[in-house]
Symmetry: C2
Subunit: 230 residues, 2 copies
DNA sequence: TTGCAATTCAAACACTTGTATGAAACTATC
DNA sequence: GATAGTTTCATACAAGTGTTTGAATTGCAA
């Protein structure tokens, strides 16, 4: 039970290559060349290519999830078991945005890798992402505590939109930069986080009465919310 | 110059297969089998696999863009050259959401194909998407007319978030359905469009003074906007 | 019909992919 | 220092990929 130097070299090389060139056109041979390691070492240490990818992604996303939950827990403890909705959403989108848009920190290969993972959606990663629902439910629960009486569907939509904005910003940051000709500052991550949180909060509170179930007004059918636009 | 029956059979089969199983694991042999056509026919009629994919995507996205611009033009004419921001955003996200979430309409293979294209991001499609910036600029221009004096960066962010919410809803509709255990009605497309538009409008107007450049308050640095959250 | 171009077809090509094999090299324990 | 277990290595394998080829077939005009 020695040399996991090969193992780590493979992990590092794979993450770097995937981050730079995507999953689509990086082969095992590319990886072992970058890692100065024999081709068979991948299957020896990881079993298969997919398991290598899975291990990379699991490691990184566990770290992100831990960070999210820590931030959430801190916010809820500070508020005596009930965090303000801004803090909850901040805990949700902050770690991801900081991780993927932030400055280099350890070369940022991890960040660029996670961006790729968010763009390309290769089978082993998709499988893992599908287990992420439980994690999100914890945030739904916190949101329910923060906004009691609010229709559950609205909470789901709010969380969904918050993730939408942060993920899409990560996925399409080059395009946004190009479209806006640099007028959108994508380096000021904190400002982006605030912007996403701010809009998400408005999505959750702006459209109707700030708390408690709004009395009737629009009929039942299926739990649709009442809105006042258009 | 006859038989483009083979040609169309290939297009139809390819779209159906890509829609169902994604670009990743559909081979030319799958396509020609589904189309009852010889393998060489693809290269004969399209030149290469990538050109086949490109033709499929170009056709569909031109149709969407045309629909968007028609809706925008109609709204601007109705308002004498200046459409309300709600209408502009409606024209932006409506066609895509209706196309990808709407009921079956011609079997909805086109819709499911566009969802795949939005998820998988294969090279030929990426190339085409990168030329979409000009199209989006037309919406930025319309938004500028609707909200004169508003900081350009805010407009870009607003458009970006609108696209974020609609695309993410398309990409992750199964996940949202699963997470919300059916409490989010993903069949009522009009309601979704309204929701997305409503939040986008709030993103553009809610955070600060409704029109004109907000006076100072927070310092200059680089055109960051002033917000009042957290 | 004849002739010619467009189309179809079966077959093979050239290449890349992830994976498996079995021997060699190494490492640590006794 | 021999031995057993782990790790590395060169090499081969089997399968699948998009693409090409050149001969058959078709369809249409002269």
């Amino acid at each position: 039970m020695s040399s996991d130097r090969t193992r780590s070299a493979i992990l590092a090389a794979a993450e770097r290559l995937y981050a730079d060139r995507g999953f689509g056109d990086v082969t095992l041979r590319d990886i072992v060349a970058e890692a100065n390691v024999n081709l068979a070492a991948v299957n020896y240490h990881f079993g298969s290519k997919d398991e290598l990818i899975a291990e990379l992604f699991v490691t990184r996303s566990l770290a992100t999830n831990r960070e999210r939950l820590n931030e959430l827990k801190a916010a809820e403890e500070k508020g005596g078991g009930r965090a303000p909705i801004e803090a909850i959403l901040h805990a949700l989108v902050g770690p991801t945005l900081r991780g993927c848009l932030g400055p280099d920190r350890e070369g940022s290969t991890a960040a660029r890798f996670m961006i790729r993972a968010s763009i390309e959606s290769v089978p082993p990663i998709r499988r893992i992402k599908n287990r992420e629902v439980d994690h999100l439910r914890k945030f739904i629960a916190a949101m329910r505590r923060a906004m009691p009486g609010r229709d559950d569907a609205d909470l789901y939509w709010g969380l969904h939109f918050a993730l939408a904005m942060s993920h899409h910003t990560i996925r399409e940051k080059e395009r946004l930069a190009k479209l806006s000709e640099g007028q959108c500052d994508l380096n000021d991550v904190d400002a982006i986080v605030e912007r996403v949180v701010s809009v998400s909060v408005m999505a959750l509170t702006g459209g109707e009465a700030p708390t408690k179930k709004a009395p009737g007004k629009v009929a039942a059918s299926h739990g649709r919310l009442t809105r006042q636009d258009l």
